[in-house]
């Protein structure tokens, strides 16, 4: 171990003549006592509940507590459950519509609000786009309930449009985030160069801007998709009768007798989420 001029607690406690306590990896200012232990505990605590949940989804028995052997019984049961099928299809449809519209809108907004001088209204546009992130979900949910209830009574129309609108609105800031980040790291002179080489505004966008910002757009789309898929609160308040999504279906089930079926559905959602997040990570971190 290298001589250090710094008297560490161990060194002051143990005089130089006695065998010094060994610090095998050398003296590092980066290690703080106990931090690693807490961190490892944290990771254990983060994943243990999820792992238990996943494990019990494979339980052969009806009980949530006693392990009776491995089986896919609850997965089959969930898959055969018409309410689940219905909710799953609705969830996916909703997430698809909301994420797509939100990503298109967010892409346009990101193009408008990045790489520019201050133009009149810029701050306002920026604040509006991020507004759904600032307000607690329950508040937005209640406000939407009030307005949409009135519209539903007034028009008598109760299609998915309300859910799609609500989901699109809170997906916009999430889609906006990675797209904006991507645009900000992009070299402005590339578009200038395209215009210099006789490309019109539209062709500059098609041939240069869009291909370069594409990873950001895909990342935004995936993020928006996950966010829409996960939403409970706003959906719970906006949905009309019979418009259950997977999360609201599960929330409803929790009031009744809980069976491992909920665990099975949870596991599927978890897996889907992990896969999308992993893809998202790959997309956003792979910059040269």
């Amino acid at each position: 171990m290298a001589e250090t001029t710094t008297p560490t607690p161990t060194e002051t406690a143990a005089p130089a003549l006695t065998a010094p306590r060994r610090e095998p990896r050398g003296y590092s200012v980066r290690s703080l006592p106990g931090f690693a232990v807490i961190a490892i505990f944290t990771f254990f605590a983060l994943y243990a509940p999820i792992l238990i949940l996943v494990t019990y989804s494979f339980n052969a028995g009806t009980s949530l507590a006693i392990w009776e052997g491995f089986s896919l019984r609850w997965y089959y049961q969930a898959a055969a459950n018409e309410a689940v099928q219905d909710a799953a299809i609705r969830s996916l449809y909703l997430a698809f519509c909301a994420a797509t519209i939100a990503t298109v809108a967010a892409t346009m907004a990101a193009l408008a609000t990045t790489r520019t001088r201050r133009f009149p209204g810029k701050t306002m546009i920026y604040a509006l786009i991020n507004q759904p992130l600032m307000i607690p979900e329950i508040v937005t949910a209640v406000a939407l309930l009030i307005v949409f209830a009135a519209i539903k009574v007034w028009t008598g129309h109760t299609s998915m449009i309300y859910l799609i609108a609500a989901h699109t609105a809170f997906c916009v800031p999430f889609a906006y985030l990675p797209i904006r980040a991507r645009l900000e790291t992009m070299d402005n002179t590339l578009e200038t160069a395209a215009q210099d080489l006789y490309a019109s505004r539209w062709l500059t966008f098609r041939r240069v801007t869009l291909p370069l910002m594409w990873p950001g757009i895909v990342a935004g789309l995936m993020l928006a998709f996950v966010i829409s898929l996960d939403d409970v609160v706003i959906t719970e308040f906006v949905k009309s009768a019979g418009q259950e999504t997977i999360p609201t279906y599960m929330l409803g089930q929790l009031r009744r007798v809980v069976t491992p079926e909920v665990n099975a559905i949870s596991t599927v959602i978890l897996m889907a989420g992990v896969i999308l997040v992993a893809l998202f990570f790959r997309l956003t971190s792979r910059r040269r």
């Binding site: 002179t189 590339l190 395209a194 210099d196 080489l197 006789y198 019109s200 041939r207 040269r288």
Partner: protein
């Protein structure tokens, strides 16, 4: 009247009459309004001739890039007109101007190959496929990049990127090519090669080049004409030799090459140096008889040890610095003015240069004295 017209040599004025103007910058100003107002260009007028290698030279922040951006159309002028020949293009967007740019950082499209980059402008002009193909091949040959045509632009070296940027800008055969410090990112050796290459390309294509640099040597060696800029103004336009030997102002003299500034008195076409000596000079317009400042380039005078004779000026040697091909002698004149003189080094055993502390005699070559405007 602007300074550049005042200083045009008679011969040059003749050329100006016979050569058509490619880009006419007419009293252009550009003001950036941010937290503080920046006058990036201040009433700039200059005419750039067809097929000319024209260089904008000036220190950082003097407005060179701004002038290029205005010509290319990336930014509108605050005042003034920019004409292509006689056509006003102030309102023309950049994609409709027959002007191409080689960007300082090259701005190559990272998602396209070398060949695709070069083809881009031609495709945007709607040229038929066969013609695009042919021109791209021709350009690749011109910049000697045939083997790398399918490489990604991130997979080639800086010098090669530079050449692709050049080929991409030349491919649509613009009337004017703008080059914003295209060589500044290259190392010295590559830079020298590219200087020659650029000259060759300009010669072969016959395109008007407007070249930006803050390297005076580069400007002098490459250009047909040079414009020296400072703080948003063009101070002088002229052939490299005129700029170097007949700078109009102290700033120009100082910026290009090494200078000795001496006090003198002007009376009717002759100056008398304060330190002694009379010289016939060309009097720039606007300079009156009386006290003036004159320029003597260090290599336009010679010095020997000993007392000054007739036609020579006496001085004390303060320092002698050997620098390979030359020796620079730092002198102090009787008036207290400092002067340095550069002597070409002869093979060893020749005449020894003056010794530090000794007396010396300076002889200034006739015609070496230039009267400055300020």
């Amino acid at each position: 009247m602007t300074s550049q017209t005042a200083h045009a040599e008679p011969a040059e004025a003749a050329i100006a009459d016979t050569t058509a103007i490619a880009v006419d910058v007419d009293r252009v100003s550009k003001i950036f309004r941010g937290e503080t107002e920046v006058r990036a260009l201040d009433d700039v007028s200059v005419g750039i001739r067809k097929n000319e290698f024209f260089t904008l030279l000036g220190p950082s922040g003097c407005g060179k890039t701004t002038l290029l951006r205005l010509i290319a159309g990336f930014e509108p002028p605050t005042m003034g007109a920019i004409r292509l020949g006689t056509r006003d293009i102030s309102r023309l967007p950049p994609n409709q101007r027959p002007i191409n740019t080689v960007f300082q950082n090259y701005a190559l499209f990272p998602h396209m190959s070398v060949a695709q980059n070069i083809a881009f402008g031609l495709e945007m002009l709607g040229k038929p496929k066969a013609e695009v193909q042919r021109t791209v091949d021709e350009m690749l040959r011109l910049v000697r990049m045939e083997e790398l045509k399918n490489r990604r632009t991130s997979e080639i070296s800086g010098g090669q990127q530079q050449r692709v940027a050049l080929a991409r800008a030349l491919a649509p055969h613009p009337e004017v090519l703008l080059l914003d410090e295209p060589l500044s990112a290259l190392d010295l050796k590559l830079r020298k090669d590219m200087q020659i290459e650029l000259k060759r390309l300009q010669h072969e294509t016959g395109i008007t080049f407007i070249f930006v640099t803050h390297d005076q040597e580069e400007a002098l060696t490459m250009s047909d004409r040079v414009a020296v800029m400072s703080a948003g103004k063009i101070l002088q336009v002229g052939r490299p030799r005129d700029i170097y030997e007949r700078p109009a102002e102290r700033f120009v003299a100082n910026f290009i090459g090494e200078s000795n500034f001496l006090d003198a008195t002007l009376s009717g076409g002759t100056v008398e140096l304060a330190a002694g000596g009379r010289f016939d000079v060309r009097v720039p317009e606007g300079v009156r008889d009386g006290a003036v400042s004159v320029l003597v380039r260090p290599e336009h005078a010679s010095v020997r040890s000993g007392e000054a004779a007739e036609g020579e000026t006496g001085a004390t040697v303060e320092n002698v610095v050997y620098s390979g091909e030359a020796t620079v002698v730092h002198l102090r004149l009787a008036t207290g003015e400092a002067m340095k003189i550069r002597l070409a080094n002869a093979p060893q055993g020749g005449e020894a240069p003056p010794q530090t502390g000794g007396a010396a005699a300076i002889r200034i070559a006739p015609g070496a004295v230039t009267v400055l405007k300020d």
